[in-house]
């Protein structure tokens, strides 16, 4: 394992470009940075995060629950109030919207934990720290 440490973002990005150009496979390069470096993600040709799928599934579940749950409960015991339809789509939209945000946000958070393999028990226990330098680790066979 080869390690390079840089104090500036510029030098770090430059080295990454150099490594990728020299034929190192992006998946063999691991980085540690004090803040996100969007340019580095492009160089390493990273795919969009799967967190969005989690949020999407959560959001759809939320919308479905928000419409179905009030509708089914209204039909469970039919009680007409104020001559309004039993199942009222406009008022249920508020519930559906709120549940979309709630479920979408929570499952997105779950997505972060799953896709980033957090909580990382090993890093929590060990002295591995989130440093202030731009680090590159290259796996060489």
């Amino acid at each position: 394992m080869e390690r390079h440490v840089y104090a500036s973002e510029h030098d770090f990005v430059h080295k990454l470009e150099e490594l990728v150009k020299s034929g190192v496979k992006p998946e063999d390069i691991e980085t540690r940075t004090p803040h996100p470096v969007h340019h580095a993600e492009e160089i390493l040709r990273m795919k969009p995060s799967n967190v969005r799928l989690f949020a999407l599934v959560g959001g759809i579940t939320g919308v479905a629950t928000g419409y179905l749950f009030p509708s089914l409960t209204a039909l469970d015991w039919t009680l007409f109030v104020g001559n309004k339809p039993l199942v009222g789509i406009p008022p249920y939209t508020v519930i559906a919207f709120e549940l979309m945000v709630l479920f979408g946000g929570l499952s997105g958070f779950l997505g972060l934990l799953v896709t980033s393999r957090m909580p990382g028990i090993r890093t929590i226990i060990s002295n591995d720290e989130f440093g202030d330098m731009f680090e590159i680790y290259v796996k060489r066979d």
């Binding site: 993600e41 009222g88 709120e98 946000g105 997505g111 896709t115 990382g120 929590i124 989130f130 440093g131």
Partner: protein, 445 residues
């Protein structure tokens, strides 16, 4: 909290020095609080226990009749405070989510404090429906759950929407707040020893800043910002519909949702200023919270003040133009009736006091901003009072008109929530990094 020497040869680079300076400035604000600080926390904690828990206890024992709510004014200052605190909560999400989507640089100075304020303010708001319930042990009736009577909650009621809106808002605000804190917890871990190191280490969930972590983190942050932005608009709209769906004159108008949302952002910006101006001074955060950022926040406040002022004016016109005697009657009553001092106080605090902020020199004067923000806080509280109380006191039949005065127990509980709010904020300012360190570092080139 001790500083650990982080000295490598590469650290001598100017960018690294700047990053280290940011880190140190924020972390040193978390140094062990002095006696005065603890005394202040203790004072607010006592205030919370005595004024809120004590008064609420007495109210539970004696009954809700201890408050001033009676016919026709069944919603007293408990509901005023509820709306007030939900409003305060709004700028937190505005600053963290909306300004994130607009890529506004000045958000990084305030977003952490504003998000903390949001979470605490929603807690304060959430207490009020419970306090107002009287028999608080039946609060679970608000939630849909299978019961023996096969009865479910009425999902068509705005009050039920409110249950969903407020609980979603609280949950999402907490998630947003926590997600933003994860990398910063990992930084704080580096500066601490012993038990606190373990606590921050667990809270950081093993964050190391790898490419995969940042990639997923940024995606989640953008998604949460995208979800929270319409949520901000929806929550206060739903709160406004608690009123607007009723056929009470002065409430039943379509302007209510945007009017409430603008008012919420207005009051929230004011509360951020009220909290951050002293915090900047006490915690010596002059470098990470530059004056330009306060100026921008002042501009946002001025802008929303004008929206609110426009709404006050247009409401009169709408009431007049509707040709509805009850509708226009209530507006005339607001300006000239029993509650005219509250009404003109509201107009003065929210429309007149922020106007000098058009002068750049005043926008950059923190003392001026602080005083303005206090006036706005008072003005926005009065606004909710005027909307809720005057409309109920002056409905359709003159025979049923009445007045309302808050009683001791209500005022005591109100003081108690303010104590709770400031106590929680003081604790936040000492135990969590008050400025988003990684975001500030990102600005360093």
């Amino acid at each position: 909290m001790e500083h650990k020497a982080v000295a490598t040869s590469a650290a001598a680079h100017p960018a690294a020095m700047k990053r280290l300076a940011i880190e140190r400035e924020v972390i040193s604000a978390m140094q062990k609080p002095g006696l005065l600080y603890w005394a202040l926390v203790g004072l607010f904690a006592t205030g919370f226990a005595v004024f809120l828990l004590g008064a609420w206890g007495i109210q539970i024992a004696k009954g809700i009749g201890l408050g001033g709510q009676l016919n026709p004014v069944g919603w007293g200052i408990y509901i005023v405070n509820f709306v007030f605190w939900v409003g305060i909560a709004h700028s937190g999400t505005l600053i963290s989510a909306v300004l994130f989507l607009f890529r506004s640089k000045f958000r990084a100075s305030f977003n952490r404090a504003a998000e903390a304020m949001t979470v605490i303010a929603v807690m304060c708001a959430g207490m009020y429906p419970l306090i107002h319930l009287g028999r608080v042990w039946y609060a679970f009736w608000l939630f849909p759950y299978p019961n023996q009577r096969l009865l479910w909650t009425n999902f068509k009621s705005p009050l039920e929407w409110d249950v969903f809106a407020i609980s979603t808002y609280l949950t999402i605000s907490v998630v947003f707040f926590y997600v933003g804190l994860i990398p910063d917890f990992a930084i704080v871990k580096r500066y601490t020893r012993g038990v606190s190191r373990h606590i921050y280490s667990v809270l950081s969930l093993g964050w190391v800043g790898s490419k995969r972590q940042w990639r997923n983190y940024n995606m989640l942050y953008a998604l949460l910002a995208g979800l929270a932005t319409p949520l901000v608009l929806s929550v206060h709209s739903v709160v406004s519909w608690d009123f607007a769906m009723g056929i009470v004159p002065g409430w039943h108008t379509t302007i209510f949702a945007p009017y409430f949302v603008a008012g919420a952002i207005f009051s929230g910006c004011a509360m951020v200023l009220t909290l951050c101006i002293p915090m900047r001074k006490i915690q010596r955060l002059e470098n990470v919270m530059p004056i330009e950022h306060f100026e921008k926040l002042a501009k946002t406040m001025l802008f929303t003040s004008m929206i609110v002022g426009y709404a006050y004016t247009i409401e009169f016109l709408l009431a007049y133009y509707s040709g509805n005697v009850y509708e226009f009657g209530i507006f005339k009553d607001r300006a000239t009736g029993y509650y005219k001092f509250q009404y003109w106080g509201m107009v003065f605090c929210n429309m007149i006091v922020p106007l000098p902020l058009f002068i750049k020199k005043l926008r950059r004067n923190l003392k001026w901003l602080f005083v303005t923000s206090i006036f706005v806080n008072i003005g926005m509280w009065l606004e909710r009072f005027v909307i809720i109380i005057t409309s109920l006191a002056h409905e359709y039949v003159p025979y049923a008109w009445g007045t309302y005065q808050p009683r001791g127990v209500e005022i005591s509980i109100m003081i108690g929530t303010f104590c709770f709010f400031f106590m929680m904020f003081l604790l936040f300012a000492k135990f969590l990094p008050v400025v988003a360190i990684t975001e500030k570092k990102e600005e360093v080139q």
